[in-house]
Amino acid sequence: MKRLTMSKKRKLNNIALVFMNLPIVLLILTPLIYTLAISVMPPSEIYKNTLIPSTVSFGNYVRAFTNPAYSFSKYIQNSFVVSISVMLGQMFTCSLAAFSFSFLEFKGKNILFLLVLSTMMVPGEATIIANYLSISRWGWRNSYQALIVPYLTSAMGIFLLRQHYLAFPKELREASRIDGCSNLRFLNSIVLPLSKPALGALGAYVFLNTWNQYMWPLLVTDSDAYRTVQVGISMLYDIDAEALGLMMAGVIIVIVPSLSIFVFMQKQLINGLMAGAVKG
């Protein structure tokens, strides 16, 4: 009898909790739901201040891709090229550096590792002017390398992988060394395959961060050929401030890849974020 009332109480509690959460969930989701609603709403209804579209039309999505005034599909392509390159580049440079810091012994190791950690203390704004001037001097403005090369490594990536490598049993390295396995082969055929979770976390985090970048691409690109999505959607506004529906369709398109990573790689992403936030 007592048990029954306990579970009943628990059920009531659950229902109360769901109802307490609903308004907050709605509040958090509102900007996105509203953006979606505007993007599929017939233009006349936007200006009549309708909140729920009477019919759903995907005209704005078609226009975002077909309007000759801006090359939205080119922006998307650019963002994919840049984000994937940065992601693969960081996996490469950070795996090697983290391997050196965790498996090898050499002089100056501690100082060099401190140097890596110290980069976390320098905010991007403290380097962005000088980086912009370098890029301009080399004639790199409006190029993929300007968007990719400065981000090809990160302290967060080295730190994340090093933490993972340090957990490897020492015997594994000893055994492979006796077999005459070189460091590079050991890294490639044993360490990396066993590091998929850490590499996944790094990859998800870096791809998302690069996809979401705004300030640097804004500074170093001003041609359609190299413009990325986040700068691109704000251009939709500059070109046609009245086309609210088109603008919102652009926002939704750009959010889809970010949300996909969040939904399908949530665990990896959160692991990456936890490591990344140490940097602040």
């Binding site: 012994e105 905010p123 704004e125 000088a130 912009y132 090369v149 998302l208 936030a277």
Partner: protein
């Protein structure tokens, strides 16, 4: 890099007779790709920014006239600099505590599992994935003066982004929204670390929900909350997209936070020296906040 390599090859003891040079160099070779990028795009530009902050520059950013500390003293003497500092601190405080409170409420409401809690948690964490630029564009519509959601719902005609009274508040709301996800994730993780026994013994003593919240939960997760406030502060200091896309620092200087002032100085007025000085001031502020965090963490280890 070269310097490190050469000193190392001198002093690393020979592990095997005739140990090959390559074995000694290998650790450094593995570090080379990462350190090349750090050197060119982090160490050098950081030093270069410090250097530039002591010079007058031409419009291509070349140092022309040694100016000593005058870029700094000129900033300290200008009222617009202090206005920008004041706006930045207001913005940072609103955002840091606003997003902490949202994170606190959302993580407390999902602290235990119930039907639907997974999807509710996912909604609360979701803003971490959204770009600040994309969110800013979405909020631009929410704040739209004639056709925006806020004015439709409240039946008002407030110019949220264009009026001096509301602009900073509006930009802060966007930033709180953007940061609420990471606050939710970290505070939730903190809550999971509170031992159940603490609550059980308190329940036996007949403590109610709020009694437990203030005497057990909040003290137990106070290191997490402190850490999170610091992260919020540092992130808020670096906000740029929201300002650029929603208010351009305006109206007047109402939302001209330090980062936006740097952007204006360097890329509109081509005053790279002053912009560099502002960057270094921003660096020092963030540096001091980080030191405070380290201090606190060291202390809390002894508890």
């Amino acid at each position: 890099m070269q310097k490190q390599v050469s000193t190392a090859s001198k002093s690393v003891p020979h592990t095997s007779p005739g140990g090959r040079l390559y074995d000694k160099l290998e650790p450094y070779l593995f570090l080379l790709p990462a350190f090349s990028v750090f050197s060119v795009f982090l160490f050098y530009p950081f030093l270069r920014t410090i250097y530039l902050s002591f010079f007058l520059t031409d419009k291509f950013g070349n140092a022309k006239v040694f100016w000593g500390v005058r870029n700094y003293t000129d900033l300290f003497a200008s009222s617009s600099f202090w206005a920008s500092i004041s706006v930045t601190f207001q913005f940072v405080l609103i955002v840091a505590f606003g997003s902490l409170i949202v994170g606190m409420i959302t993580s407390l409401l999902t602290a235990r599992e119930y039907p639907g809690s997974t999807i509710i948690s996912a909604s609360y964490a979701m803003p971490v994935a959204i770009a600040s630029a994309a969110a800013s564009m979405a909020f631009r519509m929410v704040f739209h003066p004639t056709n925006g959601l806020l004015n439709i719902i409240f039946g008002t005609q407030i110019n949220w982004l264009g009026s001096p009274e509301w602009a900073l508040f509006s930009v802060s709301v966007v930033t709180i929204w953007l940061q609420s996800g990471i606050n939710f994730i970290f505070i939730s993780a903190g809550l999971r670390g509170v031992p159940d026994e603490l609550y059980e013994s308190a329940s036996i003593d007949g403590a109610g929900y709020f009694k437990k919240l203030f005497s057990i939960t909040i003290p137990s997760i106070s290191p997490t909350l402190f850490f999170q406030v610091i992260i919020n502060i540092i992130n808020a200091f670096q906000s740029f997209s929201q300002i650029r896309l929603l208010t351009q620092g305006g109206p007047g200087d109402a939302t001209n936070v330090i980062v936006y002032a740097i952007y204006r100085d360097a890329f509109f007025n081509f005053r790279f020296g002053t912009a560099a000085a502002r960057s270094i001031i921003l660096f020092l502020i963030i540096f001091i906040i980080t030191l405070i965090q380290f201090r606190f963490e060291k202390r809390s280890v002894h508890y």
